[in-house]
Subunit: 189 residues, 2 copies
């Protein structure tokens, strides 16, 4: 998506070797008008897939998934990732290893909000190692439901996330794929 | 907002003495079509206030704030609440005490995303003790900006949040005010 690549070049910046900060429009400030275009593009890509539910993960997936859901006219479910003070009973859960934090966390989705006959579109802001997306796939499959696809805003093409998800038999669509990046120079695939 | 009260009565439920779960449409599953009506209502209430920026806090405020922002045609900034693996430099921060978790956390907003001449609308899903909202007000004021109002989806009218914020000289608008609640019986003001 050309428009997204331009936006990343203009407003994003690279920290160290593998952190791309897009706080200006996605991860801290949200350019909602722009996110609508992102949502529309996900709809264009997945509209033939008979999607019945959109699943994302807190916190930064929520804005993207909500904008997409406007086009699909479907509810969004966001997996919980942070500890909750109200016990989460009756959930599907999956352990996700975070390379950046070098620790694991549990993602949880209430059994009420994924059903066996659902065709789920998973949406997230970033795909890097694919651990979070794989955890979401695991949760959907625990429910006996089908993952109809994974839609990603920014993929780090130099990390193995896409292979991880495609090896699970799942279609992955990323709106921008970063092939390499260093300060002042982001190259897209 | 009658529609919201009906929705809470139909889809919400009460846990213990002071937890109102609205996971069905706001805090886990998001009924985006319904959230658009919430967003429209915030716009109706605050459209004369010359708002230049919408501020919320991760995670559950994000969906609401994004839907409101569509009507204001303004960006949303969400304060960070969870630890970040990338150091947050150059932020305004405020310590917020959580009664439910009996511990404090720091909310952070990058100095890039609130400016001195901003008129900020703070939006959040719940108002109970008002500590999070007060922290957001503190952050805005550190920036030298003005809080033009606080918009809340569900206020627990039996807790002191409104007084806390109004005592700071700020207009509070809640779309539903719960006066008392117990299992099967939620009474609105």
């Amino acid at each position: 998506m050309k428009l997204l690549e331009e936006k990343i070049r203009k407003e994003g910046y690279v920290l160290g070797k593998d952190i791309l900060k897009v706080d200006a429009f996605l991860n801290h400030q949200v350019d909602v008008e722009f996110m609508e275009k992102i949502g529309e593009e996900f709809h264009r890509l997945f509209k033939e897939e008979g999607i019945t539910r959109i699943l994302t993960i807190e916190a930064s997936g929520i804005a993207v998934a909500c904008m997409a859901s406007r086009y699909f006219k479907l509810p969004v479910v966001y997996a919980k990732k942070y500890p909750s003070y109200v016990p989460d009973n009756d959930v599907y859960q999956s352990e996700v290893y975070s390379f950046t934090k070098k620790t694991s966390y549990n993602i949880r989705v209430s059994k009420k909000y994924i059903k066996e006959n659902d065709r789920v579109l998973i949406i997230d802001d970033f795909l890097a190692n694919g651990k979070a997306a794989a955890g979401l796939v695991d949760v959907v499959r625990q429910a006996g439901a089908t993952v109809a696809g994974v839609g990603i805003v920014i993929e780090k093409g130099f990390q193995p996330g896409r292979k991880t998800i495609e090896d699970m038999g799942i279609r992955v669509e990323s709106l921008a794929i970063v092939e390499s990046m260093e300060t002042g120079n982001i190259i897209f695939k």
